[in-house]
Structures are given as C-alpha cells and as structure tokens.
Amino acid sequence: MHKSVTVNKEGTSDVDLAKCRAILSKYNRSTPSDLIPILQQIQDAYGYVPQTALSEITAGTRIPLSKIYGVVTFYSQFSLVPRGKHTIKVCTGTACHIKGATDIKKKLTEALQIHEGETTKDFKFTYEPVACVGTCFLAPVMMIDNRYYGKLTADKAEATLKNY
C-alpha cells in the first residue's frame, strides 16, 4: 500500500484514530471477511467512515484500498462523509408507499431543509429513505436511530423531530 495515504503523525488530520485502531487491534489476524464488520464498527464509532480510517484498515488488513473503497461505496450503510447525530430513515416500502410515505418525505424535506441522503448543517440529522423497515402493519413508518415511529402523518413526523 502507499505510504502517502497513511495518516501523518503530526496530526494534519483532525480525525482521532484511536477508536479506529482499537477496532483494528481486535483483528490482528484478519481474514477478508472481517472487512465489512470492521467497516460497520467504524461507521458506528464515527458516524461515518473517515478517509484516514480507510488507510488504517488497508495497513492493518493488507486489503487493497481500491477493494475497500469498492465495498464502502457498494453498501448503503456506509458513508464517506460525516453524518448527523441521528439518522432518520423514512420507509418507502410498498405498504408505506400506498399509505402516504410521499407526503411524509415532502414534509421532512421542508422541515429539515435538506434532500434525501443529506445531513443538516448542524449535523443533527441525516435523512434517508429506506425500503421497508419491517413494520408494515404500522405504515407509514419512520425510524430515528433504532426507534420506530408508526402510523405517521406528515405533521406527526415533523413533530417527532422536536424530541431530538
């Protein structure tokens, strides 16, 4: 791997890599199948996958950076840019679609002043659509982090944001 992409110790990067190294240290004899779990833990720890962490992973696992990048960009769970403190997942699955998910999306876009897939300026919320969160009986549904909100209306969805 390229020396030039490792993090420089003088700290030009403002990402604290201690968490990343702690995660990697659990995998000192890693196999390729550890890549996704490693990325998931990094995504959890930082709220995104920092560029500098990618370099650490490639150094630690000897998986080429290009491969790692390919994986990160394939799965919707991973983000290469910082995300908000909370993730709002609005369900756009079939049941929610026929019960008014479109209105909810519209309302949230207005309330948050961002588009789908974006993060608010204060980094409080990231807002993204997701196809079915498995609670179709409560359609329309959204999740904020790991919490479900069911039988929504556009107004209820907007009001829920105030709890955060």
Partner: protein
C-alpha cells in the same frame, strides 16, 4: 448453566423446568418487538412497576414476547391462562388491568377486539386467529424469546436430540424429502433435495447459511420469527448441519433489524452455555457453531451468490450459476443456504414426522405459509395459514376486509418480483403453482392489499424504481433494462406516455427477463407484466391522458386461471 452431555440430560432439564413451572400463576404476555413502535416497552415497564408496587410477583408475571400477530391492534397482550386478548393498551391502562382482569377476572371492554360493534374478549373467538394454523409461529408471541428455558419447555431442542440419537443424516434427508417442505425464501426449491446435494458434494468443510436478509419491501415474516422465536431457527440450522455434515453456520441478518440481532445473539450465547452449540453436541460426534453477519444495506444481497460474496467481504454482486453454492459456495466450499422460515419449519418435520407435515397443504405445496398482511386491510399483521387457503379467506376472514367504504382491488404478492392478483382470483387456493399461474409469485410472503383508489401503473412504476435502485449494475440487461422501463413508466404516469410505449415496455420486459444474470433482473418486469395483463385500460387511459383512477379494472382479456 450446566452443559448437557446427552439427550437424557436435556430430558432431565426439561423435567426439572416443568416441576418448577407454576400453572396457577397469571401470565401477561406482551409483545415488545413490533409493538415497540407504539409504546409496548413503556407498558411492559408499567406492568413491572405495578406488580412490584402491589407485591404481586407470586401471583402474576409479565412476559415480554415476540409478535402475537394482530399488529393492527398494537400494543397487544394476552393474559394466560384465561386467554384474554387486549389491544391498544396504554401505560394508563395497567393499574386497571391488574386490579380488574388479573385480580378479579373482569373483562375490560374498551381493550377488547371489536368487529361490527361486537366485543370479543377471548383470543379463541377472535376471527383473525381462528382460521390460522401456527406451526412456524408456534412459539412466537407465547414465549419469552430471550429465554432458552421457555423454548425447551415447549419441545425446544427435542428435534435435534431425536435426530442425533435416533436418525442418521441420510434418514434426516429422507424425512425432509418426504415432507415436501419447499424453500420459503421465494423460489420454492424442495429443501430435502437441496440438503441431499450438499450432503453428497465432495469436500470436508461445508457451510450452512441462514438467509435473514428479508429485503422485499412489505415483508416482515422472517423478522418476526427471528425476534419471536430465535431458538427455532437455531434448531433448524443444527438439524440441517447434522444432515449435510457442516460444522459452521452463519446467519445473515439485515442491518435494519436490530431486535432480531439482539435476540439471536442472546439465543446463541444461551445455546452455547448449555452445550447445544459447540463441540460434541449432546454427547454426540456432531459439533456446530453459529456466527451472525449483519447485512450492510443492499437488497441484492438476499440472492444467494451475492450473499456469499458479502460474507466474504466483497461487494454483494451475484455471479452466474452453475456452479451452485451446493457444490461451490462460501470460500469455494459446498454451502447450503436456507431461508429463516424454511429452517423454522425443520424441527416440526423431524419431531412430528414427515407424514404429519405432508398432511397439511396442497398437492404440490406442503405445510403452512406465513404472510405479512399489510396495506389497505383492517387487520394488518402476521398470519400463518395452511397452503391452499384462499386469498379471500386471508383478506376478508382473517384480515377483516377493506377499511372505509372502499372495495378490494388487488393483492400484491411477492414484492418487486411478484405481481398483482385482482379481485376475480380471490377464491384461488394459494400455493406455489396457482399464484404463478395468475402472474404473481408466492415470494417470501409479503401480501399487500390495495383498495380501489390505487393506481396500478403507479404501483408498477414504484416497483421498477425499487429494482432499478437496487440493481447491482453488474449485468447490462438488468442495469439498463430497469432504467429504461422506469423511464417509460414514469413518462406514462406523468401523462406523457406514447402509444408505442406499451409495446416497448413488453419488449424490454422480455429481454430483461431472459438475459439478466440473477433473479433480481429476471423478475424485475413481473409487476409491469402483471399490471398490463389485468389493468391494461389504466395504462391506456393514462396514455390517452385521461385519469387512470377513474377507469375500472379490465377483465375482458383475462386468461382463465387453471383452477
């Protein structure tokens, strides 16, 4: 907990649990999984507090369970042994339930299930439940999924114990083949045959994978099974692994299912402590371990070769088959992949016997099927019915019909790979073959009811958008075909459609179907073809820039179903 070293140890443990069991105690079973979204956890805590406050711990017990099925009434609870069923329970109802129902046996009318003004306090009388047959969901909603003891008390791990002590792997495979169980993940491939392929494949290392990716929008059966009865899936995996000779298992679960991951993690830990996972299970030569892998958000990873690529740490893209995973799967080793619901059926086949299992269902499709009933239907929730039950029974008798003054228009079955079944096929007995004949597929079990306000062209466009978004991009027919079909459908729904568009759509549908690499592309056109088949006039009306909603479903050019 003590390691179980033989089938007798398991039997003894069960006997000792039975002797400690207190049938006189009132058990309040509350769903804290799906119902969590409507405050079930708060209600659960309120019960805990009230029981403590009134020092009733010796008389009453509150049990947090998985899904009880009638999700439309969430949060729901069942009070045993009386069999009283309450829905839409709030924290503020808790003192009343304890004081009146638990201590005095009185019914609280306002919490009972009601239909046409009639209140039904007892679960056995609720129409939603009495047409169902719960095999896979046998424990779901009746036990605490975080307790291996409760599972053992209900014949849990008795099937693997029976297999290890009285059956050879060949006999297990023969039982599975004779049972007629077919894969519940969508394709309906006979499970026993698949196990036989993997068993006979050469190689000393073999893997067994449980597919819990459940990506179909509108499907939540596997979620409920994993959350409500995780041990039944583990036991199914143990039996499968014993039959095919695998010693390593992997459960691949969607990232969107945190409760399922939590309950599975607990279940695996408990099974390890009892020695039901690990080396020399129940004193036999059979050893097996299970790991959980979390998906990372890609629908196509439900496809078996993509799922394997994902476990291997790669981009989750399918590859051409053959070779099938049965000969070359995970790390190039023979691999058996089964769906969650398929595996949860296995302990029943082994314990009750294949003849019993075979006695349920239709000629070609045995056993039961779980459907996730959602959309414009009163009793949304989880239903399990014998194969061969009609759509009318599911939507009207169990589902309670369509809310408001609306009419039934169609049931969407099989999600993005399926199709819409219109009203004239309501009396069709549902099994793998009949559903296919009318242009849908059984799929994993999502069943979305649509009333007469639904625009079928919009539904087709919706599913195409989904497939286009989820197409992994590896093969051209799927990548480009779904995009072009979406363009046309969008154009039509916006009132900008051309006369030629329908012909073009059908042509694209054919090509995408025949030339795509995996099931995603091969079936992506199904929702389009099925809506063109039944609702051609809605397309034409939109193309003629008229309002599609105003047009009634066309039935003149319908091919007659074989039934």
């Amino acid at each position: 907990m003590k390691h179980l070293k033989s089938p007798e140890d398991l039997h003894k443990l069960r006997k000792s649990l039975e002797s400690k069991h207190r049938p006189d105690k009132v058990r309040i079973l509350i769903c804290t999984t799906g119902c969590r979204a409507l405050g079930a956890e708060e209600v659960y805590k309120a019960f805990k507090a009230e029981i403590a406050k009134q020092s009733l711990a010796d008389k009453v017990e509150i049990v947090d369970t998985g899904c009880q099925g009638l999700c439309a009434r969430a949060p729901v609870l069942t009070i045993e042994p009386m069999g009283i069923f309450y829905g839409r329970v709030l924290e503020t109802d808790v003192p009343d339930i304890i004081a009146k129902t638990v201590l005095k046996g009185e019914i609280i009318e306002r919490l009972c299930y009601a239909e046409a003004g009639k209140r039904t306090p007892y679960i056995k009388d609720v129409p939603f439940y009495n047409k169902q047959k719960k095999i896979v969901l046998r424990n779901c909603g009746s036990i605490n999924p975080k307790s291996i003891e409760e599972y053992i008390l209900r014949d849990g791990y008795a099937a693997i114990s029976k297999a290890l002590s009285t059956m050879t792997p060949d006999i297990v495979v023969a039982e599975m083949k004779n049972s007629g169980l077919r894969g519940r993940g969508g394709a309906g491939f006979p499970t026993g045959n698949k196990w036989e392929f993997v068993k006979n494949a050469t190689g000393d290392i073999k893997y067994l994978i449980c597919n819990g990716d459940e990506g179909d929008p509108g499907a939540f059966m596997d979620r409920a099974v994993l959350e409500g009865d995780p041990h039944s899936v583990l036991e199914g995996m143990l039996i499968g692994a014993y039959a095919i000779g695998a010693r390593k298992g992997i459960i691949y679960v969607r990232a969107e299912y945190p409760i399922a991951v939590e309950h599975l993690t607990i279940a695996i830990e408990q099974a390890k402590q009892l020695g039901l996972l690990g080396e020399n299970i129940l004193g036999s030569k059979f050893s097996f371990d299970v790991d959980i892998k979390m998906g990372a958000g890609a629908f196509v990873c439900g496809e078996e070769t993509a799922l394997i690529a994902s476990i291997e740490g790669k981009r989750g893209m399918p590859r051409p088959r053959p070779p099938f995973p049965a000969t070359s799967g995970l790390w190039g080793k023979p691999t058996n992949i089964n769906n969650v619901e398929t595996l949860a059926n296995v302990p029943i086949v082994i314990l009750q016997g294949s003849e019993y299992y075979k006695s349920i269902g239709t000629g070609s499709s045995k056993g039961t099927k779980i459907f996730a009933l959602a959309g414009n239907v009163k009793n949304t929730g989880l239903v399990e019915v014998p194969m061969g039950t009609t759509l009318r029974e599911i939507v009207f008798d169990i589902g309670g019909g369509i809310p408001g003054k609306k009419q039934f228009k169609a049931a969407q079955m099989g999600g993005p790979s399926g199709g819409c079944v219109p009203a004239q096929h309501l009396d069709l007995p549902i099994d793998y073959e009949t559903v296919k004949e009318v242009g849908a597929i059984m799929g994993s079990g999502g069943l979305i009811v649509m009333d007469d306000t639904a625009s079928m062209v919009e539904i087709a466009r919706y599913f195409m958008e989904f497939c286009q978004d989820e197409s992994c991009g590896k093969c051209v027919p799927c990548r480009v075909g779904t995009k072009r079909m979406l363009d046309i459908l969008t154009r039509i729904t916006e009132g900008k459609g051309e006369k030629e568009d329908l012909g073009l759509l059908k042509e694209l549908a054919e090509v995408t179907k025949t030339a795509s690499l995996c099931g995603l592309g091969q079936t992506a056109a199904n929702p389009v073809l099925s809506t063109i088949r039944y609702y051609l006039n809605e397309y034409e009306a939109l193309i003629n820039k008229k309002d599609a909603q105003a047009a009634p479903a066309q039935s003149a050019q319908l091919p007659q179903s074989a039934k």
